[in-house]
Subunit: 207 residues, 4 copies
DNA sequence: TATGAATGAGACTTCATTCAT
DNA sequence: TATGAATGAAGTCTCATTCAT
């Protein structure tokens, strides 16, 4: 199983307890990582926020990096679940894409601190963990690619398959942009406005 | 007075020597930062690569963060100078934009390790230094925004001013994407191909 | 709240352990400070004498200067407690003063290395800590001033209030002299003799 | 020769130049030592204040401690010369003593920062240099002891020889007190007042 | 399971002193 | 004689991780 739950070893036998505690751990860590970054946050601080002892904390993880993985995984799952949940896709591709963009960008906005964290600290993971996160990322891109591909089949979008993949990547990145270039964008644009403008640009580019 | 050269204090009196040595220092540090990241690179390693003693290194900077600033500043200047150098802009807006995109993406590709570093470690700078880099970044965006604005005036592009700014941001980020999402993109696309596809998407979206 | 115990932050939660270890720390540091001075003693040496790792040492203090504060505070408390303990003051002012002088000078002699340290290194403390020690010092002076003031009221001493304060300061300093000018004094005078001579001079000056 | 001038080796041949430069060096260093203490003052800072290069500075001394010695020696000589210069001693012992006390305390006051420095940093000298300074100090004490001894012979002072030595030490220390306990004394007493009170106490104690 | 004191390696930084020019 | 860049050892402090209780 390549399940993120079992990737990280633990001293604790009770699987449910592991999950509960790890969720608490993630909640404690994520705020600290957002505020100070991964490297500048100490395990002591996390334990304190976590409300447990250092020893207890280390019963649920093996290394500090494990915490980062749990956090990144959690953030990614949040986005992914919310986005999957919002997709109904019973309309035409154009409408489906508009909805997906709106929902995705809205999710990014809601958890923009976390998105930023994900974007900035993934590189601090070891190869294996990073690849795990990146695979998950690919699944998200695939959602947009699928919608576009449907549109192509339906002759709504006039681009080829190769372009579809890039277009899907663009959408992903334009969502993340809202968070990681907020210093440049959010001064001048409301989220609603941003969504509207980007959606128009995207749709024009696909047609 | 807000020159990046003079932002960082030095014990050394010979200004030319400072510049020479700092360039050497940047060269030494950048490879290490690319390979291991800023936080995991030690000053000792940098000094070794620099080819001088720790003490000598600290004659040219005050803190480890200063090195990161020098590196980021250098990378940004590289991109900026190359891009400015390549701009002739004697054609119509459409042609100018195509050329600028091609040149910018090509530059990013040439120094993609550095680009990646810049976009991943800027956040590790202190407020002041980070703002300095971000201001420089804004100047780059302005180049693309200008070209687009000209196109709007020339009635070549059919978008409003608000959209122009976002479109310019998009171009910037789509260039950086080539580096920071290379794991997703570079397997399947050559740079030439990537430029072609993105250029088409962009131009369609503006028309 | 201005307790010397709580002035210095610690990572350790067990308050009693803090006190025990800090006492051990003071014992380890004081000999080194006496032998080599504060600046020439390294934290590594202190840790070694302390019998624990550097990390453990820094669990009980924040900076090297904290150690000096603990040491100075400890020394001062020693003197102060011993002196307070010896004061009965049921005789006339003349007798009380003689006893106080004898006791104070004797205490100084017993811990003369520490006294010396206190009067040489207090200046190395930061403003706040130094003021704390100096305030404590003032309380000691007040003891002598009180006795003298009583003597004035009882018409035993024929000096005015202004003079009393200076006389009290003199007594303090003449006690400390025994330590800090030992190179000049202790060759030629026994403690007993020194006390006798100084007591006579003081009493004559007050009468 | 145990001359302080020749105690410290120099690369420079021209003896007069050595003396001139060393005087400048002392002037530069003393202010820094007063402000920051010996240990916290760097040789670089001294060289800068000195107006010469590090290399030049090291042509006139061998170690940083040499500078401290030069400074301490200079301060001591200042006090000593001024005091010797003011002594005429053509009156009776009582009057001579009063004048000497007044002059000595006044000198201490004039250079109280330097007195303090001398008192606090002598311990940082190596054994040899420290002894040199302490010997010089003894000569000063001898001045007061002489006056008192004369007074004893003249039957003006009613104390024995042993007591005379201690009384002389007391005077020295009471002068230094004005500097090193200024935080306790100078708030409440003017120099004039302090001299008056101490003189009275001393004279009463000797009579 | 849980605690938290202890470890110890290693991080960044400083600075007295030297030496090629 | 003068310069100041360079040395490198040593300093203080941090922190992920462990383990006795």
């Amino acid at each position: 199983m390549n399940d993120s739950k079992t990737r990280i070893a633990s001293n604790i036998k009770d699987k449910d307890l592991i999950n509960v505690r790890r969720q608490e751990l993630v909640n404690a860590a994520v705020e600290l990582f957002v505020k100070k970054g991964f490297h500048k946050t100490t395990v002591r601080e996390i334990a304190k926020e976590f409300g447990m002892s250092m020893g207890a904390l280390y019963d649920y993880i093996r290394t500090k990096e494990d915490i980062l993985f749990l956090v990144c995984d959690h953030i990614h799952k949040s986005v992914s679940e919310k986005l999957q949940g919002s997709l109904v896709g019973n309309k035409d591709a154009r409408e489906n894409l508009k909805n997906a963009i709106r929902d995705y960008f809205t999710i990014i906005d809601e958890i923009q601190d976390y998105s930023l964290l994900l974007y900035q600290e993934t590189k601090s993971l070891n190869r294996t963990d990073r690849n795990y996160i990146l695979s998950a990322e690919k699944e998200l891109v695939a959602i947009f690619e699928d919608i576009i591909t449907h549109g192509i089949r339906e002759k709504i979008f006039k681009i080829d398959r190769n372009t579809a993949k890039i277009a899907a990547e663009n959408i992903m990145v334009q969502g993340q942009m809202w968070a990681f270039r907020r210093w440049a964008i959010q001064k001048n644009y409301s989220l609603k406005n941003y969504i509207k403008i980007q959606t128009e640009l995207i749709l024009k580019s696909l047609t």
